[in-house]
């Protein structure tokens, strides 16, 4: 998401952009909500209000480079760039949405098809499952949702409903298979009829996020009309249909703006000419070549994506450009005994200045024409903070902004 955001913004501003990717990014696995700050460490109601204090307490966090104005601009930019459906919400307040297993999750900006699932506004809800979708269990989600709401001092009636719309005899359809079927009018009619018959007087219906790809808005609207009450999508296990919608939207924007996308090639080093960063060395097949560029955006992801690597001895490196990596120092423990502990290695990554230029030990930018975006920047614990999408979007947006400023 960070890389695509930067690439689209730069290409739309008229720069010639080449995106080089080892593979397709993790956006296709993401719920496509923008979680800005969910826990710090207690649950956050307003990311905008919590961020100043949070950044003061975490001076090396990527959000230290993100002003409220940049954050708001990046959110507006995202909403403008997804045509298939609207994004709702802003940084001033978190919604509380259900995950696939019924755990409430604070999220600030979400697709309109999910926004109706804010559990603070629900009193009675049906959670609909699809029998051939084996990664979503409505009984589990409903029970956990009831318990979680009760723990929060709210009372929600959540009732599971299992549906068996026609699947041509397929026993195991998956999220992609259902999303494709929801683009078929006959399937939609059969599904809506079955759902209508299964409902009682529930106020709204939660359903796994498989309501089509490009046609999601009309599929969602039609379904709400057919059953006479609001429907909200619940993000699923991967592959994530909402993540695919968002990835397709940004990829399409990049293509329309004339940006180039090189898939299946790997960045293996900096191209240095006359002591300056002149591009990136790329390996594809048996050949390594130089891609020359005036500016380079590094958005290779963090530990989980291979953008940062840690060897068995605990030494962390950044393999694409060989940049300085900041993690636990020599002699300091990298990991704690408890599996879910706050492992010092968890925040490993690059450190950047206020314009997202990676810095060295002296705090000075390593290269004037290099910026970083997304999870390759260390200092965050997105899985705890619920901050990953907000970091990716805002740093991707700002990385492009830095280059556009320098380009004049």
């Amino acid at each position: 998401m960070a890389g695509l955001t930067a690439a689209v913004r730069l290409a739309e501003a008229g720069l010639r952009v080449v995106t080089v990717a080892k593979g397709l990014g993790s956006l296709r696995l993401a719920p496509a909500t923008v979680d800005i700050l969910g826990y710090a460490p207690g649950r956050v109601d307003s990311p905008a209000s919590a961020l100043p204090g949070f950044v003061a307490a975490h001076p090396h966090h990527p959000y230290a480079a993100i002003t409220p104005g940049v954050l708001a601009d990046s959110l507006r930019w995202l909403a403008e760039h997804v045509q298939a459906y609207a994004y709702v919400g802003d940084a001033s307040a978190n919604m509380l949405l259900s995950t696939a297993i019924g755990v409430p999750r604070p999220s600030a900006v979400v697709p309109e098809t999910m926004a109706g699932g804010d559990i603070r506004s629900l009193r009675s809800v049906a959670i609909a499952g699809l029998r051939a979708l084996k990664d979503f269990h409505p009984a589990l989600a409903a029970e956990n949702l009831r318990a979680a709401a009760a723990a929060d001092g709210m009372a929600i009636e959540a009732r599971p409903v299992m549906l068996s719309p026609p699947t041509d005899g397929e026993a195991d359809v998956g999220t992609l298979g259902f999303a494709r079927r929801f683009e078929d009018a006959g399937f939609r009619r059969a599904f809506a009829a079955e759902l209508r018959a299964a409902l009682r007087d529930e106020q709204a219906v939660g359903i796994p996020a498989v309501l089509g790809f490009d046609q999601v808005r009309s599929v969602w609207t039609e379904l709400q009309e057919a059953i006479g009450r609001p429907v909200f999508e619940i993000p699923t296990m991967p592959p994530s249909v909402p993540g695919m919608r968002l990835a397709r939207a940004l990829q399409e924007r990049l293509r329309r703006a004339g940006g180039r996308f090189v898939l299946g090639a790997e960045a293996v080093g900096p191209e240095i000419r006359d002591g300056k960063l002149a591009g990136v060395r790329i390996r594809a097949g048996n050949r390594e070549t130089a891609r020359l560029a005036r500016w380079v955006v590094l958005a290779t992801g963090g530990l989980a994506s291979g953008g940062i690597q840690v060897d068995l001895g605990g030494t962390a490196t950044e393999p694409a450009l060989g940049l300085p990596v900041f993690g636990p120092g020599p002699g300091e423990p990298a990991f704690l005994p408890g599996y879910l502990g706050e492992h010092p290695m968890g925040t490993v990554g690059l450190r950047v200045d206020g314009r997202l230029r990676p810095v060295g030990q002296d705090g000075e930018p390593v290269r004037p024409n290099l910026v970083a975006a997304g999870a390759v920047i260390g200092g965050a614990r997105p899985w705890r903070e619920k901050s990953g999408d907000g970091i990716s979007l805002s740093t991707g947006y700002l990385a492009a902004g830095t280059i556009l400023e320098d380009a004049g």
């Binding site: 993790s26 696995l29 090639a265």
Partner: protein, 406 residues
């Protein structure tokens, strides 16, 4: 472990699979038919249960070998290569259909049919023969088959007086340009000569790609070894080798190593020196060495980058080249695959799947109202023309026209 270290290196990549399912979101075949359970399932997941020489899951046969899963994988797992190997093992355990042997030897067919091209073409386009071929051989009656040109590019090249170029480049034309479309090869020579190259055309036979994709690995290996034996002296002398058949170029660049598991000095040096023609010309342009004396071509064209071109990991250099042509409007299509995948869509049991895979692409081409479709791969061009009725050309054909060379 196999007895081929080059393939062990590829197979070991399955340990990088984190089951993220990104390959499943990208696989065009699994998205078209439930008969193929998807690249992750038959690939890194099933591979753990395969013992050397044994591959029991027949759903693997529905993999078209397009390679998109490997391109999409963010962890670097060689999904398609693992699947190709397992499919070959599976097919060797069974009786290989005569059809697969026939479809795998374009240069044999080319040599036999070229002298009697009118007869061969009549038979291949004859309805009754095609019904018979479907019944007896399993070649779908409607599948797009090429027509023999009745002459060969090799013969033309032997008589051609090369221009006095200042630089040399080796042309690997492949079977398709030799037997089916020699004019494409001739245009390629003209475009390269226009840019000051002396074009060398060493003797060459099939690269073995169709044999490989049909699981006939031993014969494929002997074909590709013979070919790289012919090309290696040029590569060692520092010559670059350009290919207009994007899939056969990929065979030399990667697949002979990554799928056939060949470790060989000849192959390695050839793979390092092989370029897709558009990659080569775009690199020239980036270095300021491509002639840009293009005349206007006032057409609207669609461009589809075939999956095997995408396997090169070079993006879409054809777009940069076509962008140099005045008044040419290019619509970049963003569909993964036309479905044909070499010989896959020709087969009776796979024709409908291949057409379904390609449908979104065909719809885009039909609705674009473009004058022409442009695509780098010959089998994809045949499939696109078959499905849309629109002429489909190689990017070099457009450049040839824009240079005013004919």
């Amino acid at each position: 472990m196999s007895d081929e270290p080059a393939f062990d290196f590829i197979r070991d990549s399955l340990d990088h699979c984190v089951k993220c399912t990104i390959c499943e979101t990208a696989c065009p075949v699994a998205n078209a038919t439930p008969l193929f359970p998807g690249p992750k399932y038959v690939g890194p997941q099933a591979e753990r249960f395969r013992t050397p020489g044994s591959s029991v899951d027949s759903s693997l046969d529905y993999c078209s070998g397009c390679g998109i899963c490997s391109q999409a994988c963010p962890q670097g797992v060689h999904v398609a290569e693992i699947n190709s190997r397992a499919r070959a093992t599976m097919k060797q355990q069974r009786r290989m259909p005569l059809r697969d042997h026939l479809l795998s030897r374009p240069s044999v067919e080319g040599r036999l049919a070229t002298p009697v091209a009118p007869l061969a073409n009549f038979v291949l386009s004859n309805r009754i023969f095609r019904l018979l071929a479907e019944r007896t051989l399993g070649i779908h009656r409607n599948a797009p088959l090429p027509t023999f040109a009745g002459r060969t590019f090799q013969r033309w090249a032997r008589r051609h007086r090369p221009a006095a170029g200042t630089r040399e480049v080796v042309y690997f034309h492949g079977c398709s340009a030799n037997y089916f479309q020699p004019e494409l090869a001739e245009m390629t020579v003209a475009v390269l000569e226009h840019n000051g190259f002396r074009v060398l055309v060493p003797p060459q036979d099939c690269c073995g790609l169709p044999l490989q994709s049909n699981g006939i690995f031993d014969t494929a290996r002997s074909y590709v070894r013979r070919l790289v034996g012919n090309l290696a002296p040029y590569a060692r002398a520092g010559n670059q080798i350009v290919a207009t058949s994007t899939s056969c170029g990929l065979m030399l660049k990667r697949e002979a190593i990554e799928i056939l598991g060949i470790e060989d000095d000849d192959l390695r040096v050839v793979s390092e020196h092989t370029y897709d023609i558009c990659e080569f010309l775009a690199d020239l342009d980036a270095a300021g060495q491509l002639r840009t004396d293009f005349t206007a071509v006032p057409l609207t064209v669609t461009y589809h980058a075939p999956c095997q071109q995408q396997g090169h990991g070079i993006g879409k250099p054809a777009l940069d080249l076509l962008g140099l042509v005045p008044e040419l409007k290019v619509i970049e299509l963003d569909r993964a695959c036309c479905g044909i995948a070499g010989t896959y869509g020709i087969k009776r049991e796979k024709y409908d799947i291949a057409m379904k895979v390609g449908q979104p692409l065909f719809d885009d081409i039909t609705s674009s109202a473009a004058d022409l479709s442009v695509c780098d791969s010959e089998t994809c061009r045949w499939q696109i023309t078959h499905a849309t009725g629109q002429q489909s050309v190689h990017p070099v054909e457009v450049l040839h026209r824009a240079y005013g060379l004919g």
